[in-house]
Point group: C2
Chain length 553, copies 2
């Protein structure tokens, strides 16, 4: 018998064979408004921009391109499941946020047991929709259906699974919120992530504070308590900082192994509870902001610090040149509670309304893409992009052609837009065709250059009521953007509104009476698409009838 | 501007360069006694063996080799930190189990706030020891010391970090229990695991039951609640099954990527709470076992089912030939509480005492190694191995020569023993030199064949009291095995006992009066080693003096 020989470690051979596809860092912020940053996404710097200090967002913008017309859904789960599936939420039928609890629909206080769709809305009954939200397609079999007893669920092939299967090291950090506890979709591992830190069924952390164990105080925890972070209990380190430290640690391994990584870094911040970040709050109090506003601004700056740490990390590791960073928010700013201070419904100003609404305040979000050598630095792109575009974009970045998915996808890749498109913008700027921020926001990239038609229809569908009390500019609405035009359908009243976003960013001047043909045409196309998707619609309590589609009124 | 080209996926090139080091599955069971299986590790099948049904352990034994003299520490954290560090627990000063809470020492009810060392023991005060247990060496710096405020901590370079850095995909599933919450060592990610499922500071699950959310019922959770498993809430799937499902899922990725993996699969079972596994319990009730015994036996069979699932998985994936499976338990069977049924202190019979004790019942554990083509099937090895041997063994399996660690390690690799040694045994059996189980258990492998000296000293040190009430055969004891001989030092009385394990497995016949020179010699060597390690010793309350070492009495 001879002694066994062991193969040499892989490190050397892997270096020769390194996978050169880019790393992808998807930096997703929660409830973060387009306007809540010192980096102005608008054509001018608005007073509200000046309330915030986000130097690292400014730093990222200098490295890459800002998408000034980027859209998400108006709520968390619809956006996040769309990221996973590439489907419009009207198509997936995940049109509201998922509860902590299986089979329990969310309500005004966050989906607690006992709440039902019937609690909400005196005019409409809520539609049939997939409140158990997203489940990976691998669980769509008899055994698992029996085990989990799932109904009202969308089965789909999730994006991280495709990335992982193609050789990416897929890392989930932070908030998941794709499905309730008790369902496979609540667990990032089931989505195809190799690593999971702190992600589960919860849509917000029970607490950001280490002295409150991020919600895990014995006997006080619930499904909203943040997992995996017990080493930071009582450490003095705010959740936003703690998950940043953990996120960066997870990158050491794929960097060492020369394996491209997909870091889905989904901050819990700036969702409620609005808890001060002690590192940053004093500045805002000194500036005269009220307590709630200062607390919120300190959370934003904590998030911005995290972004800076990510940039420092990739610079120090020497991987910045082969790393795509995408900055995004899951919906507009929270504007219906008192925690954030200020006046309700104004947090997205100059945009109308906030989170939950299909008005711009609910859906237009800050987005940036940086990729040295590919994306032109310090540029702006005004071509609209929407959440369902991320799935094909990530696939394209990863070299995955024609991904096989059980679901039919809706989006289009924006990779050509942010690469060729931004270079086109840079060239125009160099030639003196763009001289200032206002002109940059107005400058158009032709479809044949950017790959995306600036006039394509983008649909936002919210057939629900957000809270017990009615929210006129949030509840039961659907909208479609086409170029500069936006059609808004108010289900409660059957009204159709039309706005020109180029002239009227705040959606105050309803042009429907003046442009009846355009309203009719857009309503028809919106109705057709919703019919095609069999989109969920509420029922009129008085008649029991389904609310008509926008072209049926 | 041209369209960007993307590199092709890595899969094809990686196949050509596959790392051929073996996969390692470390299947670690909790509180699982050497005798609590239908697979007899003793020289005969004892009555207690017949109470259990573990067909998959029998199946594994047929594939590989059984180590009939394998040792762990007598408690969880000492064993588990030794696995991470390669240090004897007397050397690391982690001599008891770590609490859920930083700076809180464990006590009879599991380390609840307010308990202190001073609560325990009327004769001795407990020693200074590292109750904050293990912390990865990377945190041994000024900033982290300040952040975490750690004292009474052992800093060491953890095994999984070395494996990961050498190219292994390192996966943690189940119980960690290396350090309290509020310290970096509580988190498997900090140990070098790339994946973590369900591991944290807790030494046992608050509940195994899905209907109790594994301890996460809202408002009832504590630091012992199991994390990451929310998709199984109310699923009807017992924790043991649930973590098995998750463990196997984590292997798909490294298999696909042709990356060797290290799966540290540490079952929570069979630790308390003793909760019935409905799949298996009826058989034991039908056999006339009492309720507690039947519950416990059903947990054991659930564990065995998990082992079978692992074997099925690697067979089905075609990776069995390049996978080393190591089966082990962290200490002897729980024998001081009533939950398990039966008579206290008898659960390890014919071995003396159980968990906590340095008598064989506390430290001798079931161990098996299977590795097709390398480890001879259906063999038994009686050369003693001990927990600190695992670190160098895993390193050798991974081809890591001379690992760099901040700690000085104590163990020796058993790889040559289980490969060459088992082949030597198989050859002897073929030649008719081993004819039955008794002869197999007695057959010796020379040191020059197996690489390990059967006479080397193995030390077990427990300078603590386990519970409020005194446990005569557990509290404040130290032992050393040398070949067939075992010296036991009772600190309370200053007595030295000597047993011949070959003749007296149950340690009933104290031969110290007959072999005074051997006692003196062994006590001297034990004392020397404990002095060298600066091992923790309790203090006599009456005098304030440190309890003398075994050669100082």
């Amino acid at each position: 018998m001879t002694r066994l020989a062991f193969a040499a470690p892989l490190a050397i051979s892997l270096q020769a064979q390194a996978d050169e596809r880019p790393n992808i860092i998807f930096f997703l912020v929660d409830d973060f408004g387009w306007i809540e940053t010192s980096l102005p996404f608008g054509e001018e710097t608005y007073p509200r921009n000046r309330r915030f200090h986000t130097p690292n967002m400014e730093r990222l913008a200098k490295r890459g391109t800002m998408l000034t017309n980027a859209y998400a859904c108006s709520l968390s789960t619809p956006t996040r499941t769309s990221l996973m599936t590439g489907m419009n939420s009207a198509h997936s039928h995940i049109t509201s946020f998922s509860s902590l609890y299986k089979d329990i629909v969310p309500d005004a206080i966050g989906g607690h047991p006992g709440s039902t769709n019937e609690n909400l809305g005196d005019i409409f009954a809520h539609p049939k929709w997939n409140y158990n939200a997203l489940c990976p397609a691998q669980f769509d079999n008899e055994q698992d259906r029996k085990t989990y007893g799932l109904n009202n669920t969308t089965y789909a092939t999730p994006l991280p699974q495709l990335l992982r299967d193609s050789g990416y090291h897929t890392i989930h950090v932070g908030k998941a919120h794709w499905a309730p506890a008790g369902t496979p979709g609540s667990n990032p591992y089931n989505m195809g992530f190799v690593v999971n830190i702190a992600g589960a069924q919860n849509g917000h952390p029970k607490s950001y504070l280490p002295e409150e164990n991020f919600g895990n105080l014995p006997g006080k925890g619930d499904y909203g308590s943040v997992m995996n972070m017990s080493q930071y209990y009582d450490s003095g380190i705010h959740l936003t900082e703690a998950i940043t430290l953990e996120a960066l640690k997870t990158l050491d391994n794929p960097i060492r192994q020369k394996q491209p990584f997909f870091l889905y870094f989904a901050h819990y911040t700036n969702h409620t509870p609005i808890q001060r970040d002690d590192r940053f709050v004093q500045r805002y109090l000194d500036e005269g902001q009220d307590e709630g506003e200062a607390r919120y601004a300190s959370m934003v700056e904590g998030m911005d610090k995290s972004l800076g740490d990510v940039l420092d990390y990739i610079d120090n590791k020497g991987i910045a040149d082969n790393t795509v960073i995408i900055f995004y928010s899951d919906n507009g700013p929270h504007s219906v509670g008192g925690e954030k201070g200020g006046e309700m419904h104004t947090q997205a100003m100059p945009l109308r309304e906030g989170k939950g609404s299909v008005y711009e305040g609910g859906i237009r979000v800050p987005m940036m893409v940086a990729w040295p050598g590919k994306v032109a630095p310090d540029t702006r792109i005004n071509t609209p992009v929407v959440v369902e575009d991320f799935f094909p974009s990530f696939c394209e970045l990863a070299g995955i052609n024609n991904p096989e998915t059980v679901q039919t996808r809706d989006g289009q890749s924006f990779v050509k837009l942010v690469t060729d498109g931004s270079q086109y913008v840079a060239k125009a700027a160099k030639e003196g065709k763009i001289k200032n921020q206002k002109e940059a926001n107005a400058f158009e990239i032709p479809a044949e250059v950017g790959g995306l038609d600036p006039e394509r229809d983008l649909i936002f569908h919210y057939p629900h009521q957000l809270r017990f009390e009615d929210q006129d500019d949030i509840d039961f609405m659907t909208a479609m953007r086409r170029g500069d035009w936006k059609l808004v359908y108010r289900m409660h009243t059957g009204e159709l509104e039309l706005y020109n976003l180029r002239e009227d960013l705040g959606e105050r001047n309803n042009l429907a009476p003046k442009h009846k043909e355009m309203v009719k045409s857009m309503a028809k196309d919106l109705g057709d698409q919703l019919r095609k998707w069999d989109a969920s619609m509420p029922t009129v309590r008085a008649t029991g009838k389904t609310v008509p589609l926008p072209d049926e009124i």
